[in-house]
């Protein structure tokens, strides 16, 4: 370590400082969110309290006691979890089919999937609302899961297809000669090789289901079926705004996603950096 430190040039030190500064800019809002949630005094007091003045967790107690935050948390978990599971399972099969069975129809389909991604949610949400109402999916968590899954699927399919494309088809054929059926070769050999890609898709679809607001606001009516992202906005009353409670809710909202990210980070970096299979 010491020798390393001695070798550092002024440029490297400058880079280190710059990196820390950037990290500070990114991390500070989260820190401020936490500090504000842990004190009842106004977050606009001057000089700002970089450390909580009289640390208290009253806000947390209040939001769980007086608001349905617990209910919303569970709802969000259901929606994000289901979206993650469904979109991953569907994307695995779709991406594999598009990667391995190359015909004119599948190529066309691959493009169509990409085009569907070009439509902004705002454009689709009204027809979606009408359709969901007629199908009896309006105001149900199942309906929201379907909508969220549909929105994340194109990205998930394209991402996984890229991973499958990188895995030489010979490896699969070798597995078929070595004793696997085509499906067996896929699940035993190809899928484990695409693990970094799978983790990316699971994480991405979970996060997108977790913090999705637009569809959740439109397709869910009753308060007991709200998800956290919608619930969060309810802290902004017409005349009042309890920053402390809102920040406490924001912490509750952010924490699981953060923990989840830390958990899969290793795979995520490997997955995004790609080059999963070579030689």
């Amino acid at each position: 370590m010491t020798t390393d430190r001695q070798k550092r040039s002024p440029l490297q030190i400058a880079m280190l400082v710059a990196t820390l500064a950037c990290a500070g800019v990114v991390v500070f809002p989260y820190y401020w969110m936490f500090v504000s949630s842990a004190e009842t005094a106004s977050m606009f007091s001057w000089p700002p309290h970089l450390l909580p003045d009289r640390p208290t967790l009253t806000s947390y107690w209040t939001i769980f006691k007086e608001r349905a935050l617990g209910r919303w948390f569970v709802n969000t978990l259901i929606v994000a979890g289901s979206t993650s599971i469904f979109s991953t399972v569907i994307a695995i099969n779709a991406a594999y089919a598009l990667s391995r069975f190359k015909t004119r129809i599948t190529s066309f389909f691959t493009l169509i999937i990409l085009f569907s991604q070009l439509l902004p949610a705002a454009l689709i949400v009204v027809p979606l609302f009408v359709i969901f109402q007629q199908l009896g999916l309006y105001n149900s968590l199942a309906g929201l899961v379907i909508a969220d899954t549909a929105f994340i699927l194109p990205v998930a399919i394209w991402l996984l297809k890229g991973f499958f494309d990188q895995i030489p088809v010979e490896i699969e054929q070798q597995a078929m000669i070595d004793g696997c059926s085509q499906l067996g070769a896929f699940y035993r050999v190809v899928l484990p090789l695409a693990l970094p890609g799978l983790v990316v898709v699971v994480a991405m679809s979970f996060i997108s289901g977790w913090d999705e607001f637009f569809l959740a606001r439109t397709l869910i009516a009753s308060q007991d079926k709200w998800v956290l992202s919608v619930g969060l906005t309810s802290f902004r009353g017409e005349y009042t705004l309890d920053w402390s409670q809102m920040m406490a809710a924001a912490v509750v909202f952010t924490l699981p996603a953060l923990v989840f990210f830390l958990f899969v980070q290793r795979y995520l970096v490997a997955g995004l950096a790609s080059g999963a299979v070579k030689g």
Binding site: Q174, A175, I177, D178, V277
Partner: protein
């Protein structure tokens, strides 16, 4: 072990007939090389035998069993791919053991067999390594180990040496041949490299555009090619071809090229060869000397390619050009005039369609 019978096999990709109908017999324990230029359908044929490619018509039998509708895993074959197709997430030992694991073999027996194969291929020190930590030759050996561990009826090789450097290729060539001599398993080996085919195979099948051009023992193909294509494909450097026709003169006959080069022929052959439109002569079947002599043709040296134990010369006369390969060392230089004569009885003649006369 088993023989392989391919009958009227046909493969169509879209509107292209890759293999219009081919029949090949491989007898038990034989090493057959499928050789031909890229796109000739040799790999497709191999993949059909493996069950990786659907069959449009015809039958494939391994042993007594028609395997058209049998899944690859149930054909009792092993295949080695050009890129080795090792499982990147498995160690060397696990790669080799995978077919046994899939066959439901118990751990103890599996370990024993895997160890025996690794010992035979000198892979034991690498057992715990992953494919990406291996060199090309080592990967090749692991792929071969995975093929032999299950003791299959038939080995299929799809250009297994193409990804190796020249030196290693020669070494692995010998290893595969030795392996075949030891195990005597029926082997079908696809390559575009005729040297590989010549050196390794008991029998060579030369393919072009999905057709079988000729099948036979390596030296038979070399000595008696059925047509101009096979003649040009087998042998290195390639056979020289001279277009022209047989002309009978007062005291003998000669083959006169379209550019005017005259190569003397024995008079008795003139009639038999009257339909010949192309003369073929292998570079190693030409005598070349510095002095003029009876029956020798003068040409001038253009390029000299010495390799130590032999040398290749490109010689020219007018628009006619020949490649000459001579053993040993020679002092011919570019610009020198040399005198050439085809070795007696080593000339090949082809008619207008390219068939041997």
């Amino acid at each position: 072990m088993a023989n392989v019978k391919v009958r009227n096999l046909k493969k169509v990709f879209g509107s292209v007939e890759v293999i219009p109908g081919i029949s090949i017999d491989v007898t038990d324990g034989e090493f057959v090389a499928l050789v031909g230029p890229s796109g000739c359908g040799k790999s497709t044929l191999l993949r059909m035998i493996a069950g990786l490619e659907a069959i449009d018509a015809g039958t494939i039998a391994i042993g007594e069993r028609i395997v058209n509708d049998v899944a690859p895993k149930d054909r009792d074959i092993a295949m080695v791919f050009q890129n080795y197709a090792l499982y990147p997430n498995k160690t060397v030992a696990a790669n080799i053991g995978f077919p046994l694991y899939m066959a439901g073999m118990g751990r103890a027996e599996r370990t024993e067999k895997v160890n025996a194969v690794m010992r035979a291929l000198a892979l034991e020190p690498l057992a715990a390594r992953y494919p990406k930590q291996l060199s090309g030759g080592q990967r090749q050996r692991v792929a071969m180990g995975r093929a032999i561990v299950r003791n299959p009826q038939v080995f299929l090789f799809d250009e297994p040496l193409s990804n190796l450097d020249a030196k290693l290729r020669v070494k692995m060539r010998a290893e595969i041949k030795e392996l075949h001599q030891r195990l005597k398993v029926t082997t079908i080996y696809v390559t575009h490299d005729q040297v590989e085919a010549m050196t390794m195979a008991d029998r060579i099948v030369v393919m072009r555009a999905g057709h079988m051009e000729q099948a036979g023992r390596p030296l038979d193909l070399y000595d008696r090619p059925a047509n101009r294509f096979v003649a040009g494909f087998i042998g290195s450097p390639s056979m020289n071809f001279v277009d022209g026709s047989v002309t009978v003169t007062g005291n003998g006959a000669s083959f006169v090229s379209t550019n005017g080069l005259a190569i003397p022929l024995p008079a008795k052959d003139a009639e038999r060869l009257s339909g010949a439109k192309t003369l073929g002569i292998r570079p190693e079947h030409i005598d070349m000397q510095n002095e003029e002599a009876e029956g020798f043709i003068p040409m001038s040296v253009v390029i000299v390619e010495p390799t130590g134990n032999e040398a290749t010369f490109i010689v020219r006369s007018g628009a006619d050009e020949l490649v000459v390969a001579l053993n040993g060392r020679h002092d011919h230089r570019p610009g020198d005039t040399v005198w050439l004569r085809p070795a007696a009885g080593k000339l090949h003649f082809f008619d207008a369609k390219g068939d041997t006369v």
